[in-house]
Subunit: 310 residues, 2 copies
């Protein structure tokens, strides 16, 4: 099949359909509602939101495909190491970007928050790249779940290149880091961007599609493992504080959020990532030897989830 | 009395004492707890936090006085229009900064959120300036309260200079603006910075002290006017969404917060500004002709609160 922007965005739309269907089934209570929107400068999106489900309290599975004059920030960036592109070329170039973004905030503090994004970008002058990632933010870290989650991501990576998992796992650790707290957002996952230059675009596209396809079965498994666990008010209070940290990361550090807000993106789609409720408590310290303390102590970079747990 | 950094920071400590005492009395239920902290590079602070009061759900009145090598960002900034300072001079300069910062989140959606900050900055080479402001974020805008609030601020300003209120009111409108929402954080107030260069420092210091002193009586009056008003679950839901916007402003735009987080400031003191609970709802639209819609429609710049209301 020819690789074209139309083929890629059609594939993403189908992925959005199948993920929404899998999540509705796993939730068993609520359905996605759809908002179609148009970008005045070109393109638009299909935002799907689910709320007040049995499992999912608030979540979104978003598709978008936008195009137009390439934004300044991209023209300034050195995008390719092995392509010499005249500035003049870039200045006249239009861009096309398409992707699927997901954030799911579950109701139960025992079910982890998940985030996925896969994106494709091209310019008229031939530059194109793929990026994406999946990362998990458990309110309480369960080491078996962490091992399963990272094991599945490693399996997807290893199928394509044995160097991918260690490289993209580290990238996620570094990216999903709340610097002012000196803690990671969650247990990380994989993150990658612009990985098409040294090898074939087709190889990368296959890997990238496999990441998108891996999302639903991984998260449905994590939902099923945890959705029936009992929890207390204390667990819910802790969930609110962890969600507060999630808000801090997204508003202070997340590049997609910052870029979207600065470039007049569709605010409601960008900020669908924020939870229904989040909390802050001055100088909160978890009790000694509590589950909350255990989780806090594990929110750091470079944990080998596959080999140290379980 | 001689103007010195010691005198100014002593004055600020006494202001912190008297504001805490006035707020405890107005609350009638809870007391401030104090945290003293030390900054490794020089100086420290006295953080006072109140929570779960009759009126105040979560709030802080913070004093700090820090010193050390002048941060890079300030050396790069052109700080004085009428002083020619050799770069070499600046590079060798130490700084001293002291201030009081307040954010109060009330429990009742009928009582407004308030923020105040006054700050003094000097460098060893003789550069010094004052800055500050007070602004109000009602969950529901009451036009009589808005008229009272702005009227009081105008009175403080007019006592010193008739140009201050219009200038500093506009500054607040421009500063407390959530650009991605195209709405102001609340009804503004006054905001000023580096206002010492064209007139005498002493004149400015007197104005600045009057702003600090005006805070408690203004807010206590607003508490007393509103604390006994009835409210519903719908009002509380709306309050959560307004607090969500407050979080967005503070984490995305507020310069003090950004600077603090980027320069390894004391996170718990910086983020005391965030509420106990905040909420987000996808694409929330208030009902037609509701109080919520009325408030949203008033969240804009350049409203003449003194002359159009009441």
């Amino acid at each position: 099949m020819e690789i074209s922007r139309e083929n890629i965005s059609d594939w993403l739309k189908k992925l959005q359909d199948s993920i929404c269907s899998d999540l509705e089934q796993a939730d068993g209570g609520s359905k996605f509602e759809e908002d179609n929107w148009i970008r005045s400068e070109g393109g638009g999106g299909r935002t799907r939101i689910i709320k007040e489900g049995n499992v999912i309290e608030k979540g979104g599975v978003l598709f978008s495909a936008v195009h137009g004059a390439t934004p300044d920030f991209l023209l300034k960036e050195k995008v390719h190491s092995n392509l010499a592109i005249a500035k003049a070329d870039q200045a006249n170039s239009n861009f096309f970007a398409t992707g699927v973004s997901i954030v799911i905030h579950p109701k139960s503090p025992m079910v982890p928050i998940i985030h996925m994004n896969i994106r494709y970008f091209e310019m008229d002058n031939g530059i194109k790249w793929l990026g994406g990632g999946i990362d998990l933010t458990p309110h309480y870290i369960n080491e078996n779940d962490a091992k399963f989650f990272h094991g599945e991501l490693k399996r997807v990576c290893d199928k394509h290149d044995p160097t991918y998992y260690p490289k993209f796992k580290k990238w996620a650790d570094d990216y999903f880091f709340i610097n002012h707290r000196k803690e990671t957002r969650g247990i990380g996952g994989i993150f990658f961007d612009k990985v098409n230059e040294e090898i074939s675009f087709e190889k990368n596209l296959n890997f990238w599609k496999d990441v998108g396809t891996a999302f639903a079965p991984i998260y449905v498994e994590l939902i099923n493992r945890n959705k029936n666990k009992q929890y207390t008010d204390k667990n819910t209070q802790w969930q609110l504080l962890r969600r507060g940290r999630y808000v801090e990361f997204n508003l202070v550090y997340d590049k997609g959020t910052k870029f979207g807000l600065e470039t007049n993106g569709r605010v409601e789609s960008i900020l669908m990532s924020l939870p229904k409720l989040a909390g802050w408590e001055y100088d909160f310290k978890p009790e000694k030897n509590s589950e909350e303390e255990k989780t806090l102590n594990l929110l750091k970079k470079d944990v080998d989830w596959i080999n140290t747990s379980g």
